[in-house]
């Protein structure tokens, strides 16, 4: 076995997550990934005192939510959208879908079953209250999304002969071993300065239950441990063989494997169970908004210039429905949700400070590959019903569908996914590949975890956010320094123009961030209108 040599970053992360959650939480908050939603309920706008027109650029969730709420408050609204669809980065691919990415390669989705693929957002934490509130209001059915499945795998190419280990086994064995070590220290008096004699006894008693230790404070195979981590021979009925508890994995092997670290992702507040997903695909949410506002959306409109003066804004765009004819729209206010990566390339009248802010934020790399298989071998052979397996292979994770359990026929795995946020460089390399190469790589790597890939593969599809011409990356990759320098400016109203979208939030990449940004922007516009 190759020893696990954690990098400094990994070690710091381990310390943060194991020894001091506070420090780790602080770091994560600066990236926005652990932020509590600031949603305080339905937005209450005063509405304009006389006819006012608001032009919104981009029909993603931020643009459509802004249109929905402002129209309800009495504003006249219109949305210009570059694509021939609404929804922005919230989208779902199904069998028959085609998309030509930058570079000219066509992404084909030839799924034959009812499986689907969400290239962007794909799961909802319950504390994202704005998303849930709109799902409730707009009639979007949400189902449970299994974020943690103890039967799913943790895998390292360099540990346990490449054999994946069950998440529940790793978690319970680490808890058992650490409990045993702590009990040993307590019993040797090593912690007498840290705990009172009375607390020491309570802690020892608690560790017995928490870590499933025997009367000698040892963590080892027993019926009690079998009842917690499972059995080699499961309890049966009638005259079936006598049950036999499973054997814990050695602590050293677990530490050396790096699998312990893979567990820490489950500690994140953003991924706290239960999570949810819209039935049938993530685009159910943006489709619901589109049902409300599609009459004010002009598709195939490519914005090329945003001009503004004291009296209003003039947006110049190429009208794709009229052979690219250059047209203008005027309005009293403009809400621009165009990703900064694209906006920086447009001609925009705004303050120097805002121009600098727009230019300052890099867009994160992210990709996904989805594969359809003839049968649910992960359920039928491996007892994995939903959840996510993690690996140190470049595919990083395999997510099993949280819908259609036990059904026969084809089913879709999200077979590879990573973003630049975690600091790994794999997503850049995946992004350089052709659609066919991504499928080839996902198959070649994934078969090391699920050998059934070879016999059951049907077709695959993928998504690379840096090859999407309307986003040029996945999401605003903020750092603490960038936020200090530019965030407030980016969100402030600049004369007649205000920006909105996930990049104008402390919850980057999430639908909730887009929604909160839009709700806050329209509240401030409404106040300015009525000042």
């Amino acid at each position: 076995m190759t020893p696990f040599h954690p990098s400094r970053r990994q070690l710091l992360a381990m310390i943060g997550r194991v020894a001091g959650a506070g420090a780790m939480y602080q770091a994560m908050t600066s990236l926005g990934f652990a932020a509590e939603s600031g949603y305080t309920g339905e937005v209450a706008l005063q509405g304009p005192r006389r006819g006012r027109r608001v032009l919104i650029l981009g029909a993603g969730i931020a643009g459509m939510a802004a249109a929905y709420e402002m129209r309800r408050a009495g504003y006249e609204v219109k949305i210009l959208e570059y694509q021939d669809r609404s929804g922005g980065r919230c989208l779902t691919l199904r069998g028959g879908d085609r998309y030509t990415e930058m570079g000219g390669h066509e992404i084909a989705c030839d799924f034959e079953g009812d499986g689907f693929f969400n290239p962007g957002p794909w799961r909802l934490p319950v504390h994202h209250r704005a998303v849930f509130d709109y799902c409730r209001k707009l009639g979007v059915q949400v189902n449970p999304f299994i974020i943690k499945n103890n039967k799913a795998y943790l895998h390292s190419a360099h540990a346990f002969g490449g054999r994946p280990q069950r998440i529940g086994h790793v978690e319970k064995d680490m808890r058992g071993h650490v409990s045993e070590l702590l009990a040993k220290s307590l019993n040797q008096g090593a912690l007498d300065g840290a705990v009172t004699a009375e607390d020491r006894e309570m802690l020892l008693e608690g560790l017995k239950g928490w870590g499933v230790l025997d009367r000698h404070y040892a963590y080892r195979a027993s019926d009690d441990v079998g009842g917690v981590r499972g059995w080699d021979i499961r309890p049966g009925g009638g005259l079936m063989p006598e049950k036999r508890p499973s054997e814990p994995v050695d602590l050293s092997a677990l530490l050396q494997s790096g699998l312990w670290e893979q567990l820490f992702g489950f500690n994140s507040y953003s991924f706290e169970p239960p999570m949810f997903e819209p039935a049938g695909g993530m685009d159910a949410i943006t489709d619901a908004f589109a049902r409300e506002v599609s009459d004010v959306i002009q598709l195939n409109a490519r914005v090329i210039r945003i001009a503004q003066g004291e009296a209003g804004v003039t947006v110049t765009y190429e009208d794709g429905d009229q052979g690219g004819a250059v047209r203008e729209e005027t309005a009293d206010w403009c809400i621009c949700t165009i990703p900064l990566s694209v906006l920086v390339q447009l001609e925009v009248d705004c303050s120097d400070a805002l121009r600098k802010a727009i230019a300052a934020v890099p867009y994160a790399s992210a990709f996904k590959v989805a594969l359809e298989f003839r049968r649910r071998f992960w359920e039928q052979d491996d007892e994995i019903l939903g959840g996510i397996s993690y690996t140190d292979l470049p595919l990083v994770q395999i997510a099993y569908p949280s819908y259609g359990f036990l059904s026969d026929g084809p089913a879709v795995l999200q077979a590879a996914y990573d973003t630049a946020t975690a600091g790994r460089n794999f997503t850049y390399s995946w992004s350089t590949m052709t659609p066919q190469e991504r499928i080839d790589a996902a198959l070649a790597l994934g078969r090391r975890i699920h050998p059934q890939y070879d016999a059951e593969f049907m077709s695959g599809t993928s998504w690379v956010w840096h090859r999407v011409d309307w986003s040029l990356g996945c999401y605003g990759q903020w750092t603490e320094e960038l936020r200090d320098a530019h965030y407030t400016t980016l969100c402030e109203i600049d004369n007649r123009l205000v920006l909105a979208g996930e990049h104008c939030s402390h919850i980057p990449a999430w639908l909730e961030g887009s929604l909160l940004s839009a709700l806050d922007a329209i509240k401030r516009l409404d106040q300015r209108e009525n000042a």
């Binding site: 054999r163 070590l181 499973s246 602590l251 050293s252």
Partner: protein
């Protein structure tokens, strides 16, 4: 802090007694089925595009670094691509006249482009800069040295 943690990890390892091998485990990994040698080699070549270390790019050659990073946006032919927004071409781009500009962009990022300074060494930044400036029809005569890259590196990029 790093050192202390290593010591703690080592101590935990020493304290542990060997336990029997795990059972109730998932099915053992099977050997990949025999593939046509050509196909297997093509897959190996493809997978070699991934770095051995997820924290730092491990390729050293300028072309290999281009193929595993820059190519995502600037494409195989260095011509970039355009739509609503564009990834600018590197082929025939007058901005590449300045080796310091290009190396600086790779180090610190530019507009929507992420930075690579924290994932590549000075030698790697120099190699990929020089590759881009002498390929795709570019023929700039003045390569950049790792030392020159080092002087461009902002302090916060030091890891």
């Amino acid at each position: 802090m790093q050192r202390q943690t290593l010591i703690v990890l080592a101590a935990l390892t020493l304290l542990t007694t060997a336990a029997p091998a795990q059972q109730d485990a998932p099915p053992a990994q099977t050997e990949p089925q025999a593939q046509a040698p050509q196909q297997a080699q093509a897959i190996d070549t493809l997978l070699s595009r991934f770095s051995d270390n997820p924290d730092r790019f491990t390729q050293t050659d300028g072309e290999a670094l281009y193929r595993t990073t820059c190519q995502a946006c600037h494409m195989e032919d260095g011509k970039g691509a355009a739509g609503a927004g564009a990834h600018p071409p590197l082929a025939g781009n007058p901005k590449l006249m300045s080796k310091h500009f290009l190396a600086g962009v790779i180090l610190t990022g530019y507009h929507g482009m992420p930075r690579f300074g924290d994932q590549m060494s000075d030698e790697q930044i120099a190699a990929v800069t020089n590759y881009v400036r002498s390929n795709f029809g570019n023929d700039f005569p003045d390569p950049i040295t790792p030392d020159q890259v080092s002087r461009l590196r902002p302090q916060e990029n030091e890891d």
